[in-house]
């Protein structure tokens, strides 16, 4: 699970291609292979063995009744860890956007899956890195409520209760047919270690209502992926864990979907510098393609590097989403929820692969695998449509939106999963709404199957106005795709985009060779060529005709 054989190869390439191309020209001149060969030193990333063996710590030689007792033991030595975690988005679920000023984070945004966290706490906060956030009175300043183990467990046995606000599982349960056992907290505590794709994935693979549901590029297929699925995370590839890219600083993890580093111009940074960035460029540099030693490979490497300023790495190197055999949701229609069968019982339907396509509690769901992403110019700054903003329900409402175009040097073309669906809104105030799905009260939609009380209770809890009317509006939500990077040879080919009906077909405002043209120019030029051919044909005909006549006369 950890870095057994990490030998991440980082290639370093020259920054100046002009002399390289002149080199190519000189090859043509003297018709010999004269282009200089790039030196590509291999850098072997070593993994530090830990300096502490937690199984020998006195504080941990005991049984623990609950998670908070473990945390208190951790804090004995790691005196600053609680404060650090409490300052992080993993704890606050809140994010003040530095560019837009919007107050975002799971506490505040609406999404197009289970909509919102507010009033659904006990269920949603099963994935909170803490213990017991089940109401507005949760004490965010209490270090002992921080859950160290959910990220630092190495045993794979640390189970949280699915609906108890992040508390540790206390008795055996079955979840979707899988039996879960309460963990031996002492054993888990004595075996803590670095985070892993297992610990990160225990939450991030399951967002949006289940494995792979939300992102399209994050699911359990990444736990042991073949290189073709993820060349970085595969043990047969680089063997990386999430944290190798998502580096941390005082428990703040690099990599954000609210402010995406859409165009990293810094690259690897100075030699020896450890950059706080999860970008491709932070390892691969800003000229990642090797310049080959023959003119063709030299040109191709230089040309690919010249794409980096306009095309995100992900666009070519993630040829499709949900490639690991786990489907992702593409459509969620809440307006169809609430139907019962003839006997008044809830309805559950699955597709041939076992994906839930209808559930009384959820409505109608569509799934997809091996999906071609949508491509958009993206400047990295995500704006959200929050329930205090007016929407235009006559067209699909963008849950999040972003700017970017060809002329914006900060923007690049990125791949997106465009989640679509229908969700409740307030048709009088023209606003998106929060809704209470989870809970023991009758207001909760999953109890009473009535939208009006479910929305009224959630809006009241959030202190927002609600007209009492419920409508459904189509929405879409953009998820930038950045995981499931394929090996280089399986990246998109030039012609996938440089084509009349290629992957860039929807993007406008720039000239793309192979796609664009001036139709008038093509029409007139082809007319001229056609006329020339016709004239030639007539000329040949006349030559033959008169030649025969002359011979006949002779």
């Amino acid at each position: 699970m950890m870095h057994d054989n990490v030998d991440a190869v980082v290639s370093w390439t020259s920054t100046n291609i002009v002399p390289q191309l002149l080199g190519g020209l000189s090859w043509v001149l003297i018709m010999s292979l004269a282009a200089p060969v790039q030196a590509t030193p291999e850098i072997l990333a070593a993994v530090d063995p830990p300096t502490a063996d937690h199984s020998q710590f006195e504080q941990l030689q005991r049984d623990f009744a609950n998670g908070r007792e473990v945390t208190r033991a951790c804090l004995d030595c790691h005196t600053e860890a609680g404060k650090q975690v409490r300052a992080s988005i993993h704890w606050r679920w809140e994010y003040r956007h530095p560019q837009t000023g919007q107050l975002l984070g799971k506490q505040h945004v609406v999404n197009s899956f289970c909509n919102n966290v507010t009033t659904n706490l006990g269920r949603c906060t099963a994935c909170h890195a803490g213990y017991g956030w089940d109401g507005p009175d949760f004490d965010f300043s209490d270090d002992s409520r921080v859950d160290c183990l959910v990220c630092h467990d190495t045993t794979g046995t640390y189970e949280k209760a699915p609906k108890r606000a992040g508390r540790v599982l206390q008795e055996p349960v079955k979840v979707h047919g899988h039996p879960l056992q309460p963990p031996d907290l002492g054993k888990v505590a004595r075996n803590v270690g670095p985070t892993s794709s297992e610990t990160c994935g225990s939450c991030h693979f399951f967002g949006g209502g289940g494995n792979g549901s939300k992102h399209g590029d994050l699911d359990t297929s990444l736990l042991d992926p073949p290189p073709a699925l993820d060349v970085h995370m595969s043990d047969a590839g680089a063997g990386l864990e999430c944290s190798d890219c998502h580096v941390e600083r005082a428990h703040q993890i690099a990599g954000s979907r609210y402010q995406v580093a859409a165009h990293d111009r810094k690259g690897t940074g100075a030699p020896g510098q450890r950059r706080y960035a999860a970008t491709c460029a932070s390892c691969h540099g800003v000229e990642p393609h090797a310049l080959g030693s023959d003119p063709a490979a030299l040109y191709q490497g230089a040309k690919l590097n010249a794409h980096v300023d306009r095309i995100a790495c992900q666009t070519c190197h993630i040829p499709a989403m949900a490639r690991g055999g786990v489907a992702t949701k593409t459509w969620w229609d809440w307006s169809k929820a609430g139907r019962l069968d003839a006997d008044g019982n809830p309805i559950k339907r699955h597709d041939a692969d076992g994906n839930l396509t209808y559930w009384t509690r959820w409505g109608e769901i569509e799934w997809g695998e091996d999906l071609e992403p949508d491509y958009r110019w993206f400047d990295g700054t995500m704006h959200y449509t929050l329930p205090d903003q007016t929407i235009d329900s006559s067209q699909p409402v963008p849950i999040n939106r972003f700017a970017g175009n060809h002329d914006d040097p900060d923007a690049r073309i990125w791949p997106f999963k465009m989640m679509r669906g229908k969700q409740p809104y307030d048709p009088v105030k023209d606003r998106l709404v929060y809704m209470q799905l989870f809970g023991k009260t009758e207001q909760a939609y999953w109890q009473g199957l009535e939208w009006q009380p479910a929305i009224a209770s959630a809006m009241e809890a959030a202190g927002l106005p609600f007209s009492g009317e419920v409508g459904f509006t189509e929405t879409r939500m953009a998820w930038p795709i950045t995981h499931m990077v394929a090996p280089a040879e399986e990246a998109l080919a030039c012609g996938d985009c440089h084509a009349r009906e290629g992957r860039m077909a929807e993007l406008t405002g720039f000239y793309l060779p192979g796609r664009d043209s001036d139709p008038r120019l093509d029409r007139w030029a082809q007319l001229a060529l056609g006329a020339a051919l016709l004239a030639i044909g007539v000329h040949i005909g006349l030559r033959i005709l008169f030649h025969r006549r002359r011979r006949h006369a002779e």
């Binding site: 020209l25 043509v28 063709a296 010249a306 012609g495 440089h498 192979g514 030029a525 060529l529 008169f546």
Partner: protein, 214 residues
């Protein structure tokens, strides 16, 4: 009365045929890059296009030097003398079996129409292609990305390429209009041509003279 003369030296033929192959390759790959059809795949087409273009620039550098050094550039000096007779021949005379009014000789190899079309290709179409081509190549590789927009550069390049294709089409057809359909082709391959002393003057063209070809 005929005699064999060397019309094209080895160097001229090497220049002509290397240029011909490169231009055909450039047209084939170029129109694939333009999206007109799919043959080799965009990446291969674009790479071949750039390499062939660089090679052609080298060929041209040699050719320009050769033309200037030898004075052969005068072959393309435009003239209207005899132009009307040549046009009349292609539109009328050749159907009647007349001899070509222009008799090529090493000092003046091209008839007035031919010289004018080669001049058009050499000083208009080609320079347009390689100037816009170098800009096209350079915009993304070493010119500032926000500087020159690609669209006008690309469209002029494409327009000139259509011009080159038109030239090639007509040129290839005109090859077949010699005394036999393959006379000109043979001359361009072997360099030798049978010079017809008797037909030097257009007025001496003899319609009844037996013609072996079309």
């Amino acid at each position: 009365m005929t005699r064999t003369v060397v019309m094209f030296t080895g160097l001229e033929r090497l220049w002509h045929w290397s240029q011909a192959l490169l231009i055909i390759l450039l047209l084939l790959t170029g129109f694939e890059v333009h999206g007109s059809y799919s043959l080799l795949g965009f990446g291969t087409a674009a790479t071949l296009h750039v390499l062939a273009a660089l090679a052609l620039i080298v060929v041209w550098i040699f050719a320009v030097f050769w033309h200037l050094a030898t004075g052969e550039w005068r072959q393309y000096a435009p003239t209207t003398r005899g132009l009307a007779a040549v046009v009349r021949f292609y539109l009328y005379g050749m159907f009647r079996g007349e001899s070509h009014p222009f008799n090529p000789r090493p000092k003046r190899k091209h008839n007035p129409l031919q010289a004018a079309s080669y001049l058009l290709f050499g000083v208009v179409i080609s320079p347009l292609l390689w100037i816009t081509g170098l800009l096209y190549l350079g915009i993304d590789l070493w010119l500032a990305p926000a500087g020159l927009p690609l669209a006008p550069v690309a469209l002029i390049h494409v327009a000139a390429a259509y011009g080159a294709a038109l030239f090639l089409l007509v040129h290839v057809y005109m090859i077949t209009t010699g005394r036999t359909p393959t006379t000109h082709l043979k001359t361009m391959i072997t360099g030798r041509e049978e010079s017809d002393e008797a037909a030097r003057q257009p007025s001496q063209a003899v319609p009844s003279q037996a013609r072996r070809g079309l």
